[in-house]
Every structure is written in C-alpha cells, then in structure tokens.
C-alpha cells in the first residue's frame, strides 16, 4: 500500500476556522441514515409525536366541526328533508297503498317477501326519520349547547390536556432519542466533530421526524374528526366541512408539532454536544 506522506507541516498554529464542518448534504445524509437505520426506534419516537398531534388535531377539529354543523346544519338538513319528502310523495303517487302494505308485511310474523319499491320506500322513510331527528337534535342543542359554561370549560380542559399530553409526549420522545446516543455523541467528538455539527445533526433529525410525525398526526386527527362527525350527524357533514377552520387547525397544530419536536431535541442535543467526550461516553441512559 502507498505510504501516506508524514504530514510534517500539520500543526495547530494557524488552523483555518471553518464555520461549517461538513457540507449540508453530508449532514443531511447522516441524519437521514440515522433515521432510516434506526427505523424501529425512530418510528417509536415518531409515533409519540403522531399520537400527540392526532389528539390535539382531533380535539380542536371536532369542536370546529360541531360548531359548523350546528350553525349551518338545520337549513341544509331542512332542504334534504324536503327532497326526501318529494321522493316519498312520488312513491305514494305511483302506489297510494304502499305505506299500508308495508306496514302489514312488517307486522306479519311470516315475513313475506317485499317488492323492490317497498324496500326503497322503507329505506326512504328511515332516512327521513333519522334526518329529522338530527335536525331536531341540532336545533335543540344549538350553539348554546356548545357555548354554555360547562361545555366551554370542558372543551378548554380537553384542549389544555391535549396540549399537555403533546408537550410531555414529544419532549420525552426527543429526550430519549438524544440520551440513548450519548456514547455515539462522545465518539463523534473524539473523531473531531464540532459541537455545532452535533447540534445541527439533531436539529435535522428532529425536523425530519417532526414533519413526518406531525403530518401523519394531523391526517389521523382530521380523519378521526370526520369519522366521528359522520357517525353523529350522518353524511351531511361532508357538505358542512369547515375548510377555513380546519386550515387554521392544521397550521396551528403543524407549528406546535414542529416547534415542540425541534425544541425537545435542541435542549438535550445542545447539552450533549457541550459535554466533554468522556462524560458523554460514560453517561448512562
């Protein structure tokens, strides 16, 4: 093998002080590799973020959705009821006896087979009844139901709780992902890594995880909100989605998620970077 020149000129006097130790694409590569290779571990950390954000999004999202449905729901539902009523009248016009025939067949213990029209008519009636129930519910509940003192306190409680759970969950996940790598940080410092490089590495890693976890959490939270809305108010929610409110929810939750994730990694990462290599390598998790 070729012998490497003995670097006789290499002394510490007059070393060049580079602000950046590694080009950014190297740091990005290392950070990405860390996440990819520790996929199981990073998924665990990320799932903490996902859960917290899903919870936060759901609590805020469902409140906004309920408000929208309560205020705009009754007139929309009224129109729908009118439509259904028109369809019912059409059936009755075709066969005036259809309602009484159906009643007789339902009462018969032998369950005689129903005609296609009778089945459709029955479904129509059920749908109408349910829609009327929902409208009555919304009208009696009204905004006062959401805005009375108890309900407001409850929502606020839930929101604070969601915030707290997100805070603690994310901070814990990030702290864990830094402390379990103290030894590695110590080793990297022995190899000549600058403190700034280590902090940068954790920043990028937590940013990746934050974006991933926050996005997934928000998607899950919104999906939950809509599924629950569908179960409570029926298909009418799909015409009453509060896009503006959801957008602000997404923005708020995204910002909160990213800030918390990066903040959660920054502090322990900075502390670890400042440690002397021996301390870092000896530190027990």
């Amino acid at each position: 093998m070729a012998k490497y020149e003995y670097q006789s000129g290499k002394t510490i006097h007059g070393i060049q002080r580079r602000r950046r130790q590694l080009p950014i694409h190297h740091t990005l590569h290392i950070a990405w590799q860390n996440i990819r290779v520790r996929l199981g571990r990073s998924l665990l950390v990320t799932s903490g973020i996902i859960l917290a954000l899903a919870f936060l999004t759901y609590i805020r999202g469902s409140d906004i959705l309920a408000r929208n449905v309560v205020t705009q729901g009754p007139p929309v539902l009224g129109e729908r009821i009118e439509e259904l009523e028109a369809q019912r009248q059409a059936f009755l016009a075709a066969d005036p006896q259809i309602a009484s025939k159906l009643k007789a067949k339902n009462a018969d213990e032998d369950h005689p087979p129903k005609t296609a029209e009778e089945n459709q008519f029955e479904a129509l009636q059920k749908k109408m009844r349910r829609t009327q129930q929902i409208r009555a519910g919304l009208e009696s509940e009204g905004l006062t139901g959401l805005d009375d003192k108890d309900a407001r306190i409850q929502t606020r409680w839930m929101l604070s709780l969601a915030m707290l759970v997100s805070f603690v969950g994310i901070l814990n996940a990030m702290l864990l992902s830094v402390t379990e790598r103290y030894a590695e940080i110590g080793t990297m410092k022995c190899l000549g890594a600058l403190d700034s490089l280590i902090v940068e590495l954790f920043l990028i890693e937590s940013f990746f995880q934050g974006v991933l976890g926050t996005t997934a959490g928000i998607v899950i939270g919104l999906a939950l909100t809509l599924i629950e809305g569908q179960a409570r108010y029926g298909s009418v929610v799909w015409t009453l989605i509060p896009y503006g409110g959801f957008l602000s929810t997404i923005l708020i939750c995204f910002t909160a998620g990213i800030v918390l994730t990066i903040g959660g990694a920054l502090y322990p990462g900075y502390r670890a970077a400042k440690m002397r290599p021996v301390e870092a390598m000896r530190a027990e998790v």
């Binding site: 490497y4 003995y6 510490i12 290779v37 080793t187 600058l194 002397r276 021996v278």
Partner: protein, 273 residues
C-alpha cells in the same frame, strides 16, 4: 527547555526512531517529544470521598515510540489516557501535544486536535452503529474537510491494509469483535495522526485476536509514522512496546524499556517474533 531536556534524557533516551527524528529535523515546528505530561493530577469526588485517580504524573513520549501503560484495574490508566487525549481536563498539571498546552486550546482547536493529531481506539470499539465500516473510517476525514471521493478512496485503502478489504460495506454489528477493532484502528489512522491512543484495545478480545491487533498496531506504527500509547493490564499485550510505564494507584512506579522487559516474545499471528 531545561525541563524538556531533562525528561528527554531520563525517559526517552536510547530509543531508535530515526524516521521520527528526521521528520522533526525537517520541520522545526515539531519537537521530538510528541506528548509531554507534567505533574498531572486528577481528583474525583465520590460521595464525599476524594479519589486520587492521578497523583502527579510526569510522562514524555518520543515521536514514533510505542508506549504501553500497564497497571491494575483502577490504577488510573483510562484517566491518564483521557488527559493525554484531550478528552478530559486535569485538575492540576499540564499536557503538551507537540509542545502545545492543550489546556490553552478553545473548543474549536480541541476538536481540530482530536481530528488531526490523535486517533483513539477504545476497549468497546465505539464504532458508529448505523454506519458501514467504510463510512466509519471516512467520518473523521470528512470532519477534516476532505471531499467525499478522496475520503472514500483513502478509507478503502486503509481498510484494505487492516485486512478488511472485503467488508467495506458491512455494519459493525455484522463484524466480529476483532474485525470491529480493525475498523477502529483504520478509523484512528484516518487523518494521519501523530498519536494513536488505545485504551485496552484488546480488553474485549480473546488472546489470539488481541495479539493480532497488537501486532498490527506495531506494524502500523512504523508504516504510518505514528506514536502509539496503549493502556493494558495484560502482560501478554506488552510484546510490541518500546517502553512500558507501570502505573499504580495514580502514580508511575516503574518504567521499563523493551530490552529490559521480562517477557518472552512468543508467537504472534503464527509468526515467530
């Protein structure tokens, strides 16, 4: 200067290292003494009790020397190793690397020193688990500002030299202990350091593998013109040493040269030594 001469004549005289002497002659900035520890003390407070890990250690190491630090467990080998390597600060005394007092260095200069001047080898290998053997060896080169392509070529070459040419892309978890330590040796050599510091490099290896590593370190020492300082508590690992420093309870109690060593040079790696 007087102090330096004294330590020179007392502790390092008579050690053949012509290449290092030549290097020092060519470059007046480099002295013959690559490491100089003066009155290094280190205390640890443990539950109100003071542990004297080092009680004033003086040690000079000449360029190109292979020095073993020998002592029982708890005698302060690792502590001394950490002081010399700039990984920890002494409570009293000074450590000079190439006649630069490392206590006077700021964090940037310390990082530079660790990157360019010193290669570390640990008992527990301490490779980066998510990186391949090649990437582990490339890492200090990239920290030193080398381009990706250059680092890759050089790392592959050093890995070939330590006998891992076929395992470049393996992760540490896919390598045996001996192979991992070879990667660590290659990584320690990455930036052509002046000193290799090895803290019980064979502590986690069986006897034969351990001897192979020691033998390889001795070869690398002359090939790469490095100085090796290695801590051990195993007599069998002293074969390669130019000098053995005996450490007991935080003080140097004895220094023996190679020719005075009371050990039989057995067979290492199948070759008679």
């Amino acid at each position: 200067m007087e102090e330096k001469k004294k330590t020179d004549s007392v502790e390092t005289a008579g050690i053949p290292s012509s290449s290092a002497a030549a290097a020092a002659e060519e470059n007046p900035l480099l002295s013959e003494l690559v490491v100089r520890a003066v009155g290094v003390k280190k205390l640890y407070e443990l539950g109100g009790e003071t542990v004297h890990a080092l009680r004033g250690v003086d040690l000079s190491v000449k360029r190109g020397e292979y020095v073993s630090i020998m002592g029982p467990s708890g005698s302060g080998k690792s502590t001394l190793f950490n002081m010399i390597g700039g990984l920890d600060k002494p409570d009293e005394g000074q450590v000079f690397i190439d006649e630069v007092d490392i206590a006077a260095l700021d964090t940037f200069e310390l990082a530079w020193l660790r990157c360019h001047k010193i290669g570390y080898i640990f008992q527990t290998f301490n490779l980066i688990p998510v990186a391949s053997a090649l990437e582990n060896v490339m890492m200090p080169m990239l920290f030193a500002g080398m381009t990706q392509a250059d680092a890759q070529d050089k790392a592959a070459e050093i890995l070939k030299r330590v006998g891992l040419g076929q395992r470049l892309l393996n992760k540490p978890s896919q390598l045996s202990g001996g192979q991992q330590q070879r990667v660590a040796c290659a990584r320690a050599l990455a930036n052509d350091p002046a000193i290799i510091l090895a803290d019980e490099p064979t502590g986690n290896l069986d006897l034969k593998t351990g001897e192979e590593i020691i033998h390889m370190l001795e070869e690398l020492k002359s090939e790469f013109f490095v100085t090796v300082i290695s801590a051990t508590h195993d007599h069998k690992m002293l074969a390669a040493s130019d000098r053995v420093v005996y450490l007991t309870d935080g003080s140097i109690t004895d220094i023996k040269r190679r020719e005075d060593l009371d050990i039989t040079f057995g067979t290492i790696g199948g070759q008679t030594h």
